[in-house]
């Protein structure tokens, strides 16, 4: 105990976000009252953010195993095998609450945190992606949030030196008071150079490396687990700021130190800082750890051990070195002008013992802080609103009188319009491996010295998840996989970022449970393991929960990176094929939102077997170099996918499309949304082979038109036949203006 420590009482525990039962449990476990520092340790490690209290039971069923998985969930990041001696590590994480409070720094430190997760594994980061959700961009407050978040993501990644390979940015009123900022990072690691966050070897020294500790973000971990309310303003000072320059030095120093063989284990200090690193590392190895908190390099004066343990200052790592190799560690970090200070040792007593100038201020079994954290299975209840949503029939609304105008309206809706304003602020090329930059369905990187490539994407249509959490989450997995497949890549694994409201509300927890079930079904059917993820609960403001948003980050491999594909048409005269089922729905569609500001209705069915064959067929066709382009049909349906294929590439190319008989509702045929659909253009010399291949895979598909000209025309009712009508006829200049400016006009 230090002199100034407040007395630990139940009230103080409650103020730390613990419940009375949890406090009781701590006392029983310790056989005494905790010290103030210990209370800090428990409250941080038992927070939702660190302990996954409300989600853990539901996540147990996720498929995490597959032959290619070298590391599943539980480490800083998952790892999949790339063949040869290389592996890929990736992880996604949320930084929603900090980004709302301070958009630029909150988003920046989100990127910083996920990058550290990657390089602690021994990997060099090769890409980041960002999945963002905001309220209406026409609202000036939202606009400032967007500008701040994008500049923060750009600043951190650009300065650090990692290319941004994609992401998403979506809008819905539900995110107005609670935007989502999810950052994913991807790294390349040698299979024999993988490091883990374990404290092995009794007597091994524990080093603190990186930036100095200040009072940043103390209790950030508990803040991230509390709903926003009016007092959010007062909690502001807890936000931490980033220093990407120091992170870059930390990266180089860590990789260099790892290469010397002096490092036994390493973990970054993110949420709950030293408290988390000093308990999780020994917990993983069944060891203990003793540290002297006063040795921690400090930026501010008069810090207490409580503050030192809980600080969330950025750009810091805890590492366990091999005894006798201390000098190697010190020398390497000194070269990069970083602190590397031995602050303790690995013990075998299973305890985390924190001393402060010699006196013991905390002594807690590490398992009590980690594995024994409370796990809840709170009640779930199907929300009353689901019935009403499902009962709504979008076709009860009149069809838009002018289909061309409707298409333009969709293209300029900020959700669909070009996101170039975002990614031109991000370095996309550093490393000179970026073969497909943001702007196609997935980003593609080459791996120098090999023939392979890696494709990455993030996806989630939250409207779908809201309408049907199970199917919607499965569709998010399917869409992410489809985005990889249309780029020529075979999915290897995924990482999920499950953004939901408060799990203490049975309706929200039901959404969560259903979504995880859908995720599980899709992963099983498509044989894609979950190798890591993150749960972000309490995304609510004043009782308004966000749309349930399980963002899927996925990585895949191209065995031959020369056989890759992009979403835009490439050669006049190529025939256009539509792969996948005809079943689509206007339920939850972009059209329903743009024209009627409605989110309701039933989703088109997802047949995971069909999904799988469509993707396999697509990859086979790309592998055989038959396709000049392939584009996933997502928001806005077939018509939007066609328009994007015409104008999103380096060269604008029109298309003449003939849909045959489409029934009474052209809006359904053109703008209806459904899974498993791909628009592909086939090279002239490959048509026969393509037809044969589609037959072999038994994929539903048909020819729908040809690439060429300077306009997009879509006809229905049979070519040349009487009654055949031009549904859409638009010059590409108009299409490009709508799509190019639809989002940018809201931001500066």
């Amino acid at each position: 105990m230090t002199a100034a420590d407040p007395k630990v009482t139940l009230d103080l525990a409650l103020a730390h976000g613990l419940t009375a039962e949890e406090y009781d449990r701590i006392i029983r476990r310790l056989g005494r009252e905790p010290t103030f520092t210990e209370l800090g340790l428990f409250s941080s490690l038992w927070s939702e953010h660190c302990a996954y209290k409300h989600s853990r039971v539901f996540l147990r069923g996720l498929p995490t195993r597959a032959p290619q998985v070298l590391q599943g969930p539980g480490e800083n990041a998952g790892i999949v095998d790339l063949g040869g001696d290389l592996a890929l590590t990736f992880k996604i994480e949320s930084h929603n609450h900090p980004s709302f409070i301070e958009p630029m720094q909150g988003a920046a430190t989100g990127v910083g945190g996920i990058l550290r997760d990657i390089f602690t594994m021994g990997a060099r980061p090769i890409a980041v992606l960002d999945s963002l959700r905001f309220g209406d961009p026409a609202d000036p407050r939202t606009r400032r949030l967007i500008e701040g978040v994008v500049s923060g993501i750009g600043w951190y990644g650009n300065c650090f030196g990692v290319p941004n390979l994609g992401g998403e940015i979506g809008f819905a009123p539900e995110y107005t008071g609670n935007p989502l900022v999810n950052a994913m990072a991807v790294g390349l690691v040698a299979k024999n150079g993988i490091f883990r966050a374990r404290a092995d070897g009794v007597g091994n020294p524990v080093f603190y490396v990186g930036a100095k500790t200040g009072r940043d973000g103390i209790h950030g971990a508990t803040m991230a687990s509390a709903t926003f309310d009016e007092t959010a303003e007062e909690r502001r000072p807890t936000v931490q700021v980033g220093d990407p320059f120091t992170e870059k030095l930390l990266l180089e120093a860590c990789l260099e130190a790892m290469a010397t063989g002096a490092i036994v284990g390493i973990q970054d200090m993110g949420a709950a800082g030293l408290a988390c690193a000093c308990s999780e590392m020994p917990a993983r190895s069944g060891m203990g750890m003793e540290i002297e908190a006063s040795r921690v390099p400090q930026r501010e004066t008069g810090m207490t051990p409580y503050e030192i343990m809980l600080s969330e200052s950025q750009e810091r790592m805890l590492l366990v070195a091999a005894r006798g190799r201390e000098e190697d560690v010190r020398r390497t970090f000194a070269k990069w002008e970083l602190d590397a200070v031995p602050i303790g040792t690995v013990t075998d007593d299973g305890l985390l013992r924190v001393r402060f100038h010699g006196a013991v201020v905390a002594e807690v079994p590490v398992k009590a802080l980690t594995d024994e954290a409370p796990v809840y299975e709170k009640p779930t209840a199907r929300p009353g609103w689901q019935d009403g949503l499902e009962a709504f029939d979008p076709l009860s609304l009149p069809a838009p009188p002018d289909v061309s105008a409707a298409l333009l309206a969709l293209l300029e809706s900020p959700g669909i319009a070009s996101k170039e304003w975002v990614y031109r602020q991000y370095d996309q090329q550093v490393g000179t491996n970026s073969l497909v930059l943001p702007g196609s369905d997935a980003g593609v990187l080459r791996i120098k010295g090999t023939r392979i490539g890696v494709a990455v994407t993030t996806d989630c249509n939250a409207r779908f998840v809201y309408l049907d959490p199970r199917a919607g989450a499965a569709m998010a997995v399917a869409e992410a996989a489809r985005n990889l497949s249309v780029s020529g890549a075979r999915p290897l694994g995924l990482t999920d970022c499950l953004n939901f409201g408060s799990p203490e509300r049975p309706e929200i927890l039901w959404q969560f449970k259903e979504a995880v079930a859908g995720l599980t079904e899709a992963c099983r059917a498509l044989e894609i393991p979950v190798v890591g993820g993150n749960v972000s609960f309490y995304n609510e403001t004043l009782g308004q929960a966000i749309l349930p948003t399980p963002v899927i980050g996925m990585a895949g491999i191209l065995d031959d990176v020369e056989a890759r594909c992009t979403q835009w048409f490439a050669t006049p005269g190529d025939r256009i094929a539509l792969l996948g089922p005809d079943a689509v729905s206007l339920g939850g569609s972009e059209l329903l939102w743009v024209l009627h500001r409605t989110v309701a209705g039933r989703l088109a069915p997802l047949d995971l077997e069909v999904e799988r064959t469509v993707q396999e067929a697509c990859r086979a066709a790309i592998g055989a170099r038959l396709l000049a382009s392939a584009h996933d049909c997502a928001e806005g349906g077939l018509a939007v996918a066609l328009a994007e294929a015409c104008i999103s590439g380096p060269r604008r190319l029109g298309a003449a499309v003939e849909l045959g008989s489409i029934g009474a509702r052209p809006d359904l045929a053109l703008f209806g949304e459904g899974p498993s659909r791909v628009v592909a253009s086939v090279r002239a010399e490959g048509e026969r082979h393509f037809e044969q291949l589609m037959g072999e895979f038994r994929v539903p598909w048909r020819w729908i038109g040809r690439v060429g000209g300077d306009r997009l025309t879509i006809r229905a009712g049979g070519a040349g036949r009487a009654g055949g009508a031009d549904l859409v006829e638009l010059h590409l200049d108009r299409v490009a203006i709508a799509w190019g400016g639809g989002f940018e006009r809201y931001v500066s």
Partner: protein, 83 residues
């Protein structure tokens, strides 16, 4: 009337820029430097306001735009124009 607004990071907030500048100065031989903090100076030229009103308005500008209260503080100095 001119107002000089100094916007600085709160003392408790990491000033990575200041740390780097301090180290660079030390490298150039300025070892007497104990600490460096880098902030912004915003010079605002105002029209037709008396000093009290001007200060009130500039304070408002700081609160609404010039200063980010999450991480920064500001001070305002009024300079009567001597041009």
């Amino acid at each position: 009337m001119r107002a000089r607004v100094l916007v600085r990071l709160k003392p408790s907030i990491l000033d990575a820029q200041g740390v780097t500048v301090k180290r660079a100065l030390a490298g150039l031989g300025f070892s007497e430097v104990q600490d460096v903090r880098v902030g912004k100076v915003v010079d605002v030229e105002l029209d037709g306001l008396g000093p009290d009103e001007a200060r009130r308005r500039v304070d408002e500008m700081c609160a609404r735009l010039l200063c980010n209260p999450v991480i920064e503080t500001f001070t305002v100095e009024l300079l009567t124009d001597t041009r």
